[in-house]
Symmetry: C2
């Protein structure tokens, strides 16, 4: 009988998927580095009568183990400081309002961070983004690290970054994160969303979900918290995250004005963005493409504006009869992002919330503006990804990625699914993994997972795992379809194990050995003929 797959645990997986690191020496004009590049080793047994099988080597997102109260070591700190182009400064004052009304009332956050602390760093004279380095022909340790993880040349990494076709979200104030790259020339990546809300979840749970998501393969995590202790929750997450962290700063800004969108202002928003830059958020969703004149285009939609950030900005624009401050102050935002190396994830605030609204003038008009904003950010050497839909019919998925490439000059596309039908709440990890393969196959660089709880509730640990694994499948099937070098190696290894009845190897090479073992039972006749 099916049981909670999270409760089933990860015992076999933890035994079989061993995180190791490969020593790589690297020198550039700023220093000499002994990089320790992580990978996963899966040991395989011998083929009886034939000989040993080499261990399978996989990409690793899990990060080193640490005490969550201490946080991870600042892997990149020396790399950043050696470049000599940043300065420490006192930073924004700790403000209990950042943690919400209840924190002010209590006089403290629920669970103050007491682990590793740092004064924030910021750029001194020029942008310190990986894009700036790439464009100036500088190979950073970050680029080398990524090239080793991706098993490609460092020049490919540099040139894709310089062209804007790839991003490496790596805020200098999140030195704990292991560099990774998002671009269509590289392995397709997957993002897992989490975050508390006004009524659920503790800081401990959010940190546990983060660790859980990266264990199963999340390449980045978005903290979409909207509840209490939003600043402190984020601090815990950042200090413990081996992967880049994304946020939607508008959610916190709205908390600060007690959910009254009309009270939002550029100043309050900017202050929130700087707060998050100093904490170390690696990429931020900015819905700067929701222009005042696009809002009426959604009037006859079946589901209107379903993006939370999009609807907040649409409300603000209508109430103030003004153009969005995210758009009018976009260059200032770029200047801030350039100081910390925060990447834009330009939000699709007008994405379709159902098939009926797909590919409509609202969605496509916003995309045109995102293209304009991409070029403005690149002019300031700021990294950019473009967020994409949403709910769209399967036959229009390819058009969506091709249009994004054309309009946004090949900036990496980062899509939610897309969901290919609206009819299956409870199963939207499946409806959307289907669209995910199609859109990634044609070049989408990162897929945002959808969990079975989509449209219904907030994901628990089990939902996070279901979502991550459905998207591991989607990313991998797309990489195979793209003929990404060596993408099919794991399939070949597991198929060989299957044919040779090396059951344990088959379980261990699967994404979820514990579930495979639980499903395997001795009712299955042991003959190859039984396998599809």
């Amino acid at each position: 009988q099916r049981v909670d797959i999270a409760a089933r645990g990860s015992k076999q997986r933890d035994k079989a998927h061993i995180r190791k690191t490969k020593p790589v020496h690297f020198e550039n004009q700023f220093g000499s580095y002994d990089l320790e590049v992580p990978y996963t080793e899966i040991k395989l047994s011998d083929t009886p009568g034939v000989g040993p099988n080499p261990p399978f080597i996989d990409y690793n997102t899990e990060g080193p183990k640490c005490d969550p109260k201490e946080g991870l070591k600042p892997l990149r700190l020396d790399w950043i400081l050696d470049r000599g182009d940043v300065e420490e400064y006192e930073g924004r004052e700790r403000n209990l309002a950042d943690d919400g009304k209840r924190a002010i009332k209590r006089g403290k956050a629920t669970k103050e961070w007491r682990g590793r602390k740092h004064n924030p760093l910021k750029a001194k004279d020029h942008p310190i983004t990986q894009m700036w380095y790439a464009r100036h022909g500088i190979i950073t340790p970050e680029m080398k690290y990524v090239a080793e993880r991706e098993n490609c040349s460092v020049e490919l990494v540099r040139s894709e970054l310089a062209a804007g076709r790839a991003v490496m979200p790596c805020n200098i104030n999140h030195p704990e994160a292991e560099p990774m790259i998002i671009g269509s020339a590289f392995l397709t990546k997957l993002n897992a969303n989490m975050g508390n809300s006004a009524v659920t979840s503790s800081i401990d749970e959010e940190v546990e979900k983060l660790t859980w998501a990266t264990k199963w393969g999340a390449d980045t995590v978005m903290d979409l918290s909207t509840g209490n202790d939003i600043h402190t929750t984020r601090e815990w997450i950042l200090r413990n995250s081996p992967v880049p962290i994304g946020t939607v700063p508008m959610y916190q800004a709205l908390e600060k004005v007690e959910d009254d969108a009309s009270k939002l202002s550029w100043e309050l928003f900017r202050d929130t963005v700087i707060e998050q830059c100093e904490q170390g958020v690696d990429y931020m969703t900015i819905h700067a493409g929701v222009l005042l004149r696009y809002v009426p285009l959604t009037a006859n939609r079946v589901t209107g504006i379903v993006s939370r950030g999009g609807s907040i900005m649409a409300e603000w624009c209508l109430q103030h009869h003004q153009e969005s401050f995210l758009y009018t102050h976009f260059d200032e935002l770029c200047d801030i992002f350039a100081k910390y190396d925060v990447a834009f994830s330009l939000g699709d605030g007008l994405r379709p919330g159902c098939l009926a609204d797909a590919n409509d003038p609202a969605q496509l008009s916003e995309l045109m503006t995102l293209g304009e904003l991409t070029r403005r950010a690149w002019a300031k050497d700021v990294q950019v990804m473009i967020e994409g839909p949403g709910h769209i019919p399967f036959d229009t998925v390819r058009m969506n990625i091709e249009m994004e490439k054309a309009i946004c000059n090949d900036a990496p596309f980062y899509t939610l699914g897309p969901l290919t039908t609206d009819t299956a709440p409870g199963y939207d990890h499946i409806t959307s993994a289907i669209g995910g393969v199609e859109i990634a196959r044609y070049g989408t660089a990162m897929l945002c997972y959808v969990t079975p709880k989509e449209h219904l509730g907030l994901p628990n640990k089990d939902d996070v795992k279901q979502g991550v694994i459905a998207y591991k499948i989607a990313c991998h099937a797309a990489d195979i379809a793209k003929h990404h070098p060596h993408a099919q190696d794991r399939d070949d290894a597991i198929s060989k194990a299957r044919f040779e009845f090396r059951w344990l190897d088959q379980f261990n090479l699967s994404y979820d050995p514990d579930t495979a073992i639980a499903f395997h039972d001795d009712t299955l006749p042991a003959e190859p003929a039984k396998m599809a």
Copy 2:
């Protein structure tokens, strides 16, 4: 927390998805009929302040309720007899050997069928297949019934059948089944496999799985039993099945020779086929394309021959140094099928069992032979589907359906998935639903589901449900992508309900209301912004 989704039951679904029938009067040269064409009605609530929403009308596969010990009423019996082209005859003698060694030892089957019995019918003078009628310009009640279910013209049904582009599996000895059609011009269909094995499952369980699968939306069911009481189990299934039943007669033939493939013969196989024709099996998988000369083409494969029927025939060919009796006696098989209107499902015995073996000479050579056999069957007015892979990379899925159409003259393609990666045992309902959408989008007529237990064990009730729902999603997403008329209506209805916060309507319009309700919790702020 996630629980067994089968145990979660179907209470809300059973309350909300009401089977009804539409009276349709029909006359042809043989008689006058008052058809009762089934559909599902989902009642919707009003939009507050606006007005009522019409009920949603859906295709229904569930069949009427009945006492499983009695079986269903013989819906089609009069239609068949009125044509005056069949005769009742005594049929093959009841042979305990048909139920296996244990039945012989006991002197009876475990649970003899005591419900409605019939002497078998067979054709008198000419083929009595729906293809024959279609080609002779005869509109049958079956065709009219199907046209009403599909919401299309009866001439489309007739012409597609006549051209071989669609099949209606409807053995005259399974009059209980509600006519349905499989072809790329119609709604994409889904098949659910079940069946006992040597060590698991009782007759009651198999009948329960049948009822369960058709409740969730299975359009046909294959009984792949290989265990005890194989004949009697099939009798229970046929007498209770409102959907066409498919089998792989080779499995029973092999039981009769105690799993020693070398002892198989045309005579024994033919006898088994006739046994199943008389019982009422609607379509049979026949691996007649596995020719002696193709077997060596599999020698260097990673996973060899993974089709059970394929490997049995390959073994027989090698042991006897003879061409497959399924191939050499194919015309005789056609003559038998034409007498009962059994449809061929020409098996892909050399289908790839992993990505590494996909699209290889073994697979493609067999397909050429299936094309030849299709034309031979059509020459005798026998209906044909073609079975397809299997495990294939996503970027080659489209080529597979286009090749099948070209080589097999547009005979309906019926594919297992295909699975788009080998790396996710425990999640192969997802790896394969992905390939299913792509292959159905380009014209595959029926998808054979894959359950989460694939490669690991035999599916229980929960796995059957998971498999059926994943494939409901796949078929539906493909129908939308194909722009099948009205395919998107359900999406539009559920999206409207979502936007209007008609939660119960949203649950009821989903494929699995009970799971949607279980997932919904009050942690979700009730604002549209929270929805993707």
